[in-house]
Symmetry: C2
Subunit: 290 residues, 2 copies
Amino acid sequence: MSGESAFIETLRALAHHPAARGLLDDTAVLQVGSETMVLTHDMMVEGRHFLPSQSPADVAWKLVATNLSDLAAKGAEPLGVLLGYMLADGRDEFAEGLSEVLDHYGVPLLGGDTVSGGPPQAIGLTAIGRATHSPVPSRSGASVGDGLWITGQVGAAMLGFEALRDGTEEDSTTYRRPMARLAEGEALAPLVTAMMDVSDGLLLDAWRLAEASQVSLAIDSRAVPIAASEARRLDALRWGDDYELLFTLPAGTEPPVPATHIGTVEPRGFVPLFLDGEPIANHSGLGWEH
Amino acid sequence: MSGESAFIETLRALAHHPAARGLLDDTAVLQVGSETMVLTHDMMVEGRHFLPSQSPADVAWKLVATNLSDLAAKGAEPLGVLLGYMLADGRDEFAEGLSEVLDHYGVPLLGGDTVSGGPPQAIGLTAIGRATHSPVPSRSGASVGDGLWITGQVGAAMLGFEALRDGTEEDSTTYRRPMARLAEGEALAPLVTAMMDVSDGLLLDAWRLAEASQVSLAIDSRAVPIAASEARRLDALRWGDDYELLFTLPAGTEPPVPATHIGTVEPRGFVPLFLDGEPIANHSGLGWEH
């Protein structure tokens, strides 16, 4: 793993160019004339990010929705996507799911590349957006005294995954076809001090927000709306794939969209995260690290 | 192959969105406020587009340079790249080559994604540019009476590939580390009626330009500057990877950069391409189709 880290550090160093405020594995913000562009790229690999047994239409939906979710966290309006598609079985179903998700969000496929190769199949997607508010929200702006908020609820994707895995009748839509909170992100962008989407688990992503902002976050676990039973509350807080927006607002500011107050921003303590007053000593086990 | 074609047709249909003038496997042009963005995405797969034995630094160079060449053909100034990197051996060498090519062109790495998976390794790159001239040059604007021109010479990449393959002392730089004709593309953009880069072979790419413009091109094979011996002239015309710019200019217009007049644009005949007066009946064998 240290080899990987060194490589990622090298790439991060390359990304520290004055023209760019983005970093690898994060969303890039690029000023072009009077416009502020927001750019994100994700790669999904068969067997890692999706299973060969999964519906290619659902894979296409998730690939697009998760990239659009990155734009939502920046309050950006999506302008289009570029696709890198390694040809494989299920290509018609993939194109169908792609068509559905692009229609749903009114986003065009601008171009891309199709290649032979694999297995495993690898698919890349670049989403291009335009910031609707400047400065563009980041993870690093949370201030002591701010409130911590989240849209929607967490745990629905977990239940969807388990329904699929166990072949039950429960609804798996939230896991298979997540929604990007684009309208909410745009409405929140002018108000938030920090914002990100919850892709890898509420606790892990909150940890990252705290680290980026150099503050501590105190979360009231019972305040977090969950889609699961009370017995699964901690699981729901650790599960990812919900793509809700996690954000901080100055005290007294009410969000213009449905959201729940789940904690507060505190001075940087000896750990970045407190759950119900208990310090969280390290981030292993808080969510999905990849 | 018909399955692949149907898929690509489906993706092409998706790309026919009013907001987009680009098509899959081609460069996308996107109007954002007062700015015209040019976007391209390429994926390279180990064993298809590069060999496991190839230097990862050279792979990085080629991935970036070929995407920048797509921008050059649009007269676009590169603003940055996003990388989708599947972790594999040789990552430090890859990062080094990436650093070299980005430094060479003064282009920042804006962001991207690193994933586990493979083999085979798949690597994707998205290049973002800003058009320096509007309308942005395309393949489809060649008019009857225009002259057909090319920058530089063809065949050097072929010789470089053969030197590598045969382990000779010949210089393989042009094959391993192609150059994107960015300055030339920018200078030519206001003047050309059509422009593209020669990536898959002069004859095949000229065929595509003729098809897109609905004209025929008459090429004088002896006029084409080649890096190879006279005996290899036809091979050089069919080989790709040279990344020179192929373009059409109105009769009487001289190019502002070093280039060679190699033919003329004629009314659409029964074939799109005539070589030394001989009709080329189909495009198989003209270059590298993938």
